[in-house]
Amino acid sequence: MTAGEVFLVVTLAAPALGAAGAALVPARADRLGRLVATVAAALAFLASLALFHRTIPPMPTVPRSRIVPWHQVDLRWAPGLDLRFHIGVDGISYPLVVLTALLTLICCIYTLWAVPAVEVVSPGAQPRSTPPPYIAGRLLAALLLVIEVGILGVFLALDLVLFFVFFEIVLLPMYAVIAGWGGPGRRHAARKFVLYTLAGSVLLLVGVFLVVTRAGTADLVKLSAAHGAGLSSGLQLAAFVLLALAFAVKSPLWPLHTWLPDAHTEAPTVGSVILAGVLLKMGTYGLLRIAVGVLPDGARRVAPVLGVLAVAAILVGGLVCLAQTELKRLIAYSSVGHMGFVLLGIATLNATGIQAALIGNIAHGIITGLLFFLVGAIKDRAHTGEMTQLGGLRERMPRLAGLLGYAAIASLGLPGLAGFWGEAFAVVAALRHGGPLWTVLAVLAAFGGALAAAYFLRLLRRVSHGPVGPAFAGACAPLSAGEVVSWAPLVVLALAVGLVPGVVLWLAHGPVMELVAR
């Protein structure tokens, strides 16, 4: 076993073992459990960093090997189900793997300091003024680690059936996080989340096996290399539609997005961060790697529909945000818009668009993760997310207001910060695709980008500026060390990716060229 293979296994095994360890710690040593989880997450993060591989893959061969993993592990699991434990990492998945490991680590660190309480208060009751007690934080941390295993597995899987298995792992732990540690409407939101996303993943199951039974293999490397050869045009179309639906629920793509605002509004801060930061990326990554990579013909035929829906998502997300009065809901809907840009990039099916989608994925993960942390911190102090109740944050908590401003500006796509590249290049890619349809889509998407500026500036005006709102009337706890420590990496990364987007683009350049080549 080479070092790379060891790191690959450790990346998956560390959180899995950490989750078991944290869950088995007795209740009276709750903090120890959270510590165990944090150590495991740190190990996974270090291992994921170590996966980096400097050598450039060899030049294209004939027939093309479209996925050239840096490292891979390929073990027999259940041949009767066409299932192999085949994982690997390449330039497309590497940034997402690192982002997942980083966000989980940050969230675990965050749980060391604060775990939202399970409130038994009815919706109409007065919010409590005392800080929430720490309840079963070790279990929350353990669930976060299980979710990490699922997400990492999705990004690493090089076997279609294995991909599906990992895709499913995420569902119930996320349900438990929302239902166990969420806000007053958590049960409804959690159920909506789990039913919507399960509907998506059963379609994935059917789509995956439609491909596997016809192609006779589930090996993603082989399937991608075949590039749709041997799969009839009709089958490709049917399978692509199934897979695209599955990934569209997860991403989420308008009009299948309605679970997202509810889930985000009710989820605890760490749940929202993971959900927006990396869980949604399973959808876009799957669309890119599986649907587009394996079924290129189906992708070409459905791409215009995807493009139209993506632009609809951008516009709907923007317009809803303009009318939104609840902070977390606003950020959630802004996610719909941002993911619309990512999907638009993929739908163009050209190298620029896919690069835009990849960097958009990463940027959205960093910035929206940060935004949810900040909004969570505001809600912890103000006990409300209603913007009419807030106001004057700049006077009460200047540092938090500054960070919020920074994150909002990054999210609306100011050049020099991470959010800019993905959205700008998605528009450029649509223009480059040519034709009247795509030109119109590009114009509309650009208009949607302007909407983002409008609603984020409105948010800042309401929350940071103006007279001090009733919610901030009482004393506000200053930023804790845990908050500062867990936010710092995201603040730095938002700037770093914005200034040097080449880091992500360069890594993915080779694989993307392989992916789009005919």
Binding site: L81, L83, L198
Partner: protein, 476 residues
């Protein structure tokens, strides 16, 4: 006619188990430990005998134009599964049942199940199925001074008798038109084109009657009443061993005997499977009692079990490889299902002791009162829903969908998929109640036989979850 006694050994052992339980109760009356232990030993002996016979060459006996009793690998597997399921049910029964008759009846029922796997003609099959079912009428009524128990038993009895009559009528029609009862002979006759309307009627009637055993729509209505009225271990037996018996019987009849007439049986099975999934899942959505919820869910599960056979409706699904894939998928799903189902019922027994299943609201706070049992319950229920961490259930769904798609029945695969989503709604509700805040005063004590059985089932569920190939390999 010489009789191969060795081939009959598993059957003798099973019948001996029933007698042993009876004798033990007679010789040492009032000692439930002795009776239960004697029954347990008998089930283990049956399993060992079945394995021993199954490892040798295929043995046939009671042969005339065809053989009525064939001891092959497949039959051995079925016998072992029945014996082990009975063993688990015996362990689950220890806290609540002390009468020797109870264990005697359980042994009798097991005998039917063990023999069922070896039968190769319609009459033997019906007799085996009846031997499996008959002891269950009194067993369902075993919760004394309970009206629900008596009602459940009567419902079960009436529906069962009617369905047996239907099966026999179907068998008679088949015999009248082909002159054959043995599966091989019947298949041969159908191959040569006996295609009167009477054959069609007979085939559909046989399948319809057997559908009762698996609680498939339209013969499903008895299940919730019988399960909820019966002692919980008996409900566990009904939903696993008894249902498995029905599945085996349907498989034997549909594929072995009526294989050449699959263009008749296939569509019927596809319709039954679709309706069973839908009705079961929709019915379960509204349930407020735990055992009733499990009963409706087990109806839906019967639909998933039969679904791969629905692929036989299409001519593309009737090629030999597609057919063997469909059969393997049905048996494979059934095996995964019985493991998870007995885990769920075992957890109910552990949480409720000798009480009935009770309302779902009573389970609030179970996670803190009995964390390990709740863990097994969660694993089983989530597995039945077909999601990780219940990997066994996930792979079971994968097996079914894969078989359907390779048989070209994509529409049925989508039906299965949609039903999985409906199913999750109630499984999540039931599991969620375990973790809700509620009465958390005392930890629940679980007796060692129940704990051991539950632990063993959990270990098996986890192992086959990580190594589904073990189940797939054992089918071939």
């Amino acid at each position: 006619m010489s009789i191969d006694q060795v081939a009959l050994l598993p059957g003798y052992c099973a019948a001996g188990t029933a007698l042993l339980a009876f004798l033990a109760d007679l010789l040492v009356p009032g000692r439930r430990a002795v009776v239960a232990a004697a029954t347990a030993v008998g089930t283990v002996a049956t399993a060992v005998a079945a394995i021993a016979v199954g490892r040798g060459p295929v043995r046939r006996t009671f042969c005339s134009v065809g053989c009525s009793y064939v001891a092959d690998h497949r039959a051995a597997l079925i016998a072992v599964v029945f014996a082990l399921l009975t063993l688990v049910v015996v362990a689950l029964s220890v806290p609540s049942q002390s009468l020797g008759e109870y264990y005697f009846l359980l042994g009798c029922s097991m005998t039917g199940g063990v023999i069922l796997g070896y039968t190769r003609d319609l009459i033997s099959l019906t007799v085996a199925v009846e031997t499996l079912t008959l002891p269950l009428y009194p067993l369902v009524a075993f919760r004394r001074r309970s009206v629900a128990s008596a009602e459940g038993a009567i419902t079960f009895f009436v529906v069962s008798v009617v369905s047996t009559a239907v099966t026999l009528l179907g068998a008679a029609l088949l015999y009248a038109s082909t002159g054959a009862l043995h599966f091989t002979v019947l298949a041969g006759a159908l191959q040569q084109g006996h295609r009167q309307p009477m054959v069609t009627t007979g085939a559909v009637l046989v399948i319809a009657g057997l559908a009762f055993k698996v609680a498939a729509v339209p013969m499903h209505a008895w299940a919730p009443a019988a399960y909820d009225g019966a002692p919980v271990p008996v409900a566990a037996y009904l939903s696993t061993a008894s249902k498995l018996g029905g599945v085996i019987a349907i498989l034997y009849v549909a594929v072995d005997a009526l294989g050449p007439a699959l263009d008749i049986v296939g569509p019927a099975l596809a319709v039954v499977a679709t309706l069973t999934m839908l009705v079961g899942n929709l019915g379960a959505l509204r349930q407020t009692r735990m055992v009733r919820l499990l009963a409706w869910s087990s109806i839906a599960q019967a639909g998933y079990i039969l679904a791969p056979l629905g692929a036989l409706a299409l001519s593309r699904g009737r090629t030999p490889p597609a057919m063997s894939a469909a059969v393997a998928a049905t048996v494979g799903y059934a095996v995964f299902y019985v493991i998870l189902e007995i885990g769920a019922f075992g957890a109910v027994v552990a949480l409720r002791g000798d009480q009935d299943g009770g309302p779902i609201a009573d389970y609030r706070g179970a996670a803190r009162r009995a964390p390990w049992v709740t863990g097994v319950f969660t694993l089983s229920m989530i597995g039945l829903a077909g999601l990780p961490p219940g990997l066994a259930g996930l792979f079971a769904k994968v097996i079914v969908v894969r078989a359907l798609l390779s048989g070209g029945a994509a529409w049925l695969a989508i039906v299965v998929a949609v039903n999985a989503v409906i199913g999750l709604a109630y499984y999540v509700r039931a599991v969620g109640s375990l973790f809700a805040t509620g009465d958390e005063t005392a930890r629940i004590r679980v007796g060692w036989p129940v704990a051991a059985a539950l632990g063993a089932v959990a270990v098996v569920a986890v192992v086959v979850g990580f190594a589904p190939q073990l189940v797939i390999d054992s089918l071939t």
